[in-house]
Symmetry: C2
Subunit: 86 residues, 2 copies
Amino acid sequence: MDENIIGLIAGGLTSIAMMPQLIKVIKEKNAEDISVIMLLILISGLSLWVCYGFLKDELPIILSNGFSVLVNLTLLICCFIFKKKC
Amino acid sequence: MDENIIGLIAGGLTSIAMMPQLIKVIKEKNAEDISVIMLLILISGLSLWVCYGFLKDELPIILSNGFSVLVNLTLLICCFIFKKKC
């Protein structure tokens, strides 16, 4: 099988797995269980993965980590909007 | 900078970011907030990333996703040990 297809399926699965947390936070308007520091570390790591993907010219890495950056940035924004201690 | 170093830093950061959840679950002996289905989807995705890393012969991808597989397998085992509905 083409390596890129494996990468795209892998990226799809890991992306799906992080959606419930985002949906829960938006639905309950509560981000109390989310740690801002951990989110910042995660977003930094994911952004570096996107750089790595561009340097290696690998679409699956760029797409899946780019999507993860978006999801976690949204979580970060939720943290500030809902203004709970997080 | 060497691409592999960027990849290793990226992998280190995303690995650090997932540790607090594991520590919390083990410390509180409570995995109630963890979804087994999502864990299974995540572990499948991460395992495919490890395959992708081997196919492309990229150490940062193999190491960081391999570590993530271990962390999430431990979370899965915690779910069954603590026997809370999760």
